[in-house]
């Protein structure tokens, strides 16, 4: 199929004007964004992200004007319902962590809209944000650096409760102990310091801290990547359990496809800052549309020695996000790339209900 297309292209070469294509694309994108920003908020969704973009300056002039920037997250949109899990997968440098932090406004988004619980929080000041913080929390990848080294577990867990006045002062300890029990931590851990614990237990403490303020949304930024397999399973089960009990919505960021598949309801596949494909778990795993998704799936080693499957091998390395390729950002490694892919940015479109992708190949079918 792919080879045919390449042949067709060679037969009738199309000349692409990069500058014109780029201008047309930007114009179209701007119009679309303005249109989308005016749309009413979905009252049911806990989180709605519209065309989120985050750039970091690389080079500045003396006057502080940015001359070169790194586009960490480029135009991602999705909706998340309460009690649902959205998995974001991608390789290193794809901007998944930045996306997670931009949603929490730990990084101020460059453009786009973040609608949390019916409120547009994109331009909230840090004072207003502080009130909202208790409803959206984050769990980090590294359980070693994410706990303050000089506080006891009890101190770490009661501080947010105290600050946000979740329960009256005299009930804080019992509240924290109950929370610890819920997260599988023993009561005598209360007096201990983080350095006494293994990675898995520390991650439980992090989870307990995030849940201490009764959030509605938790961003899980690679929460199990640093853990051993048997501990990973414990933490994933714990997260699933807590989700059922507290009706939490998760944004689960990971590079491990099998983990994402296990925990998510919806999945977004990111590459170099852009969303390549988005859909429900069934859509993505049973019927992947984008060649990158397919390649990503086939690269995961299968723990079954008999099943030696044929791989879609990706050549080369991931380009630097500071200098992304023109056209489709995946074309440098795509086995099916055509001339068009090198020049024209593919549109991110809905191909099936709720199943989005951005690839030229899909349009031609």
């Amino acid at each position: 199929m792919a080879e045919e297309k390449v042949l067709n292209n060679e037969a009738a070469p199309v000349q692409y004007d990069d500058a014109a294509e780029q201008a047309a694309y930007l114009e179209k994108r701007k119009k679309q964004h303005e249109e989308d920003f005016q749309k009413p908020f979905d009252p049911e969704a806990i989180l709605e992200v519209r065309h989120l973009r985050k750039t970091f300056p690389i080079k500045k002039t003396m006057m502080g004007k940015v001359t070169r920037e790194l586009v960490a997250v480029d135009d991602i949109s999705f909706k998340l319902m309460p009690g649902e899990t959205l998995g974001i997968v991608g390789e290193s440098g794809c901007g998944k962590t930045t996306a997670g932090r931009a949603i929490l406004k730990l990084h101020q988004p460059t453009a786009g809209q973040i609608i949390f619980d019916g409120k547009d929080i994109t331009n909230y000041k840090s004072k207003d944000m502080r009130q909202i913080r208790k409803e959206m929390q984050i769990i980090f990848q590294d359980p070693y650096s994410s706990l303050p080294p000089r506080s006891t577990v009890g101190g770490i867990l009661s501080e947010p409760v105290e600050v946000h006045k979740i329960v009256p002062k005299d009930q804080i300890k019992s509240y924290v102990l109950e929370l610890m029990d819920k997260c599988g931590l023993r009561d005598y851990y209360y007096e201990r310091y983080p350095h006494e614990f293994s990675g898995g237990q520390r991650q439980r403490i992090c989870i307990a801290r995030a849940l201490s303020v009764n959030p509605k949304l938790v961003i899980c930024d690679e929460p199990v990547s640093a853990l051993d397999v048997s501990i990973q399973a414990q933490i994933i089960n714990l997260l699933k359990d807590l989700q059922r009990q507290m009706n939490l919505a998760y944004v689960f960021i990971s590079h491990d496809l099998s983990v994402v598949k296990f925990i998510s309801d919806k999945i977004g596949v990111m590459y170099l800052g852009g969303m390549m494909e988005f859909g429900t778990k069934e859509d993505i795993f049973k019927n992947p549309l984008h060649p990158y998704t397919k390649a990503l799936f086939s690269a995961v080693p299968n723990p079954d020695p008999t099943a030696k499957m044929e791989r879609i091998k990706l050549q080369g390395d991931i380009p630097s996000p500071a200098n992304p390729p023109k056209g489709c950002r995946f074309h440098t490694r795509c086995p099916y790339a055509t001339e068009k892919c090198k020049h024209v940015v593919p549109e991110y479109r809905e191909y099936e209900p709720g199943h989005f992708a951005a690839c030229h190949l899909l349009d031609e079918e």
């Binding site: 397999v229 048997s230 089960n237 080693p301």
Partner: protein
């Protein structure tokens, strides 16, 4: 090891006692490590001539102030010629310490090989009485008489280890970001390997060799030879690391989590490369990883380690299709896979790895084991053979063995 006070702290007195005992033990082992010895002292015989490496009853301990950490506590496994042996286990199970012991890279004086033997079938220079290599009659410069020798690495004095380290056995580390020296170019670092390990090697020879190695790992030398490590991506650096490992033509490559820091698509490339290399150099690979998927894809034989001991070993098919030890079974079930039905809860092994200092006398896995029986409170189970190549250390299979 030491009595605990009510609060669970070690008292100063206890710590002093431990420190004193440790100092004595460490001094003895350091002296043994630095002794002068005749070659005959560390020559040995292979149990099975088909093996390239035999580790037998290896004990590597770390002497700390809290007590002795038995990181490797009686580990035995073999690496046959032309095969990939995968060692799998969770962090702290001693899989890396075993490989570091093979390379004699354990950091002294706290870390010491206490007991056991590591026999390695080396293809080394034939040496005259003075211990110098004998040049090959009629050969080119840099060619010497060679012969097969079996060294017992655990008994080798540390200053003799250069015969093996980096030359006969090469190592690939997990962190491609930190394993290369940032101030030298790739070419300089590659050349160095040849210059060190080949007696009489010239710069031209080294460069030719380096370029050959880079080509072998799928890199065009012109682009990379003069580059600095920071100019390369993680995958490229790992390729360079592999090229460095190959430069001295080793018979065994120890790959310690070679793909853990890499992305899946790059991991797939590196794993392919390793398979490819193995056939090209006609050597063996000792692959250490925690990723069962990687093991299943790469290994011929699998060794499962837990808390410093081997609990199961066998061929890859035996381990993945007919696992015997409850830990191996649990490990495989707790890993979510791409094909797994995810409506159910993930199986998990409860609890944590026991504290490495106060190891119980009974099976270390007893506290976390779903199948444990009264017998498990007894002695640590021995290795039981369930098939010619499949061994397991679990009391559940005691009877089967006695009957049949």
């Amino acid at each position: 090891m030491a009595e605990k006070t009510n609060k669970g702290y070690l008292t100063g007195k206890e710590i002093r006692a431990i420190t004193k005992a440790n100092a004595k033990e460490m001094k003895r082992l350091e002296a043994y490590k630095n002794r002068k010895a005749e070659e005959s002292e560390f020559l040995s015989e292979m149990k099975d001539p088909k093996n390239i490496l035999e580790i037998e009853d290896l004990h590597t301990f770390f002497f700390t102030e809290q007590g002795t950490v038995k990181a490797v506590n009686g580990v035995s496994y073999d690496v046959p010629k032309n095969s990939v042996v995968g060692v799998v286990g969770e962090s702290g199970c001693g899989k890396s310490v075993t490989s570091m012991s093979v390379m004699r890279l354990i950091q002294g004086p706290a870390g010491q090989i206490v007991d056991g033997s590591i026999r390695f079938n080396a293809y080394d220079y034939k040496r005259n009485e003075k211990g110098e290599p004998i040049p090959k009659a009629g050969g080119k410069e840099g060619e010497f008489e060679m012969e097969e020798k079996i060294y017992d690495i655990a008994k080798m004095p540390i200053h003799e280890i250069h015969r093996i380290r980096g030359k006969q056995i090469a190592m690939i580390f997990q962190e491609p970001m930190t394993s290369l020296n940032p101030v030298f170019t790739i070419g300089e670092q590659l050349d160095e390997v040849t210059l060190i390990h080949v007696p009489g090697a010239t710069k031209e020879l080294a460069k030719a060799k380096s370029e050959e190695m880079l080509r072998l790992v799928g890199i065009i030398p012109e682009n990379v030879y003069n580059a600095f490590p920071h100019e390369l991506s993680g995958g490229m650096r790992q390729r360079v690391m592999i090229a460095m490992a190959l430069a001295a033509e080793p018979r065994l490559i120890i790959a310690d989590e070679p793909t853990t820091a890499l992305d899946v698509t790059i991991q797939a490339q590196i794993l392919d490369l390793l398979q490819d290399i193995k056939t090209k150099i006609d050597g063996s690979i000792l692959l250490i990883t925690h990723d069962l998927g990687v093991i299943a894809e790469m290994a011929d034989y699998v060794v499962v380690m837990y808390a410093g001991k081997v609990i199961e070993k066998g061929t890859v098919f035996e381990i993945f299709q007919d696992p015997k030890h409850p830990y191996t079974i649990g490990l495989q079930k707790s890993k979510p896979t791409m094909t797994l039905d995810d409506s159910t809860e993930l199986y998990n092994i409860p609890g944590n790895v026991p504290n490495p200092i106060n190891m119980p006398d009974h099976c270390y896995f007893k506290e976390r084991c779903a199948k444990c029986t009264a017998k498990c409170s007894g002695d640590y189970p021995g290795m039981i053979q369930v098939s010619p190549t499949h061994f397991v250390a679990c009391h559940l299979y005691d009877e089967e063995n006695e009957n049949g």
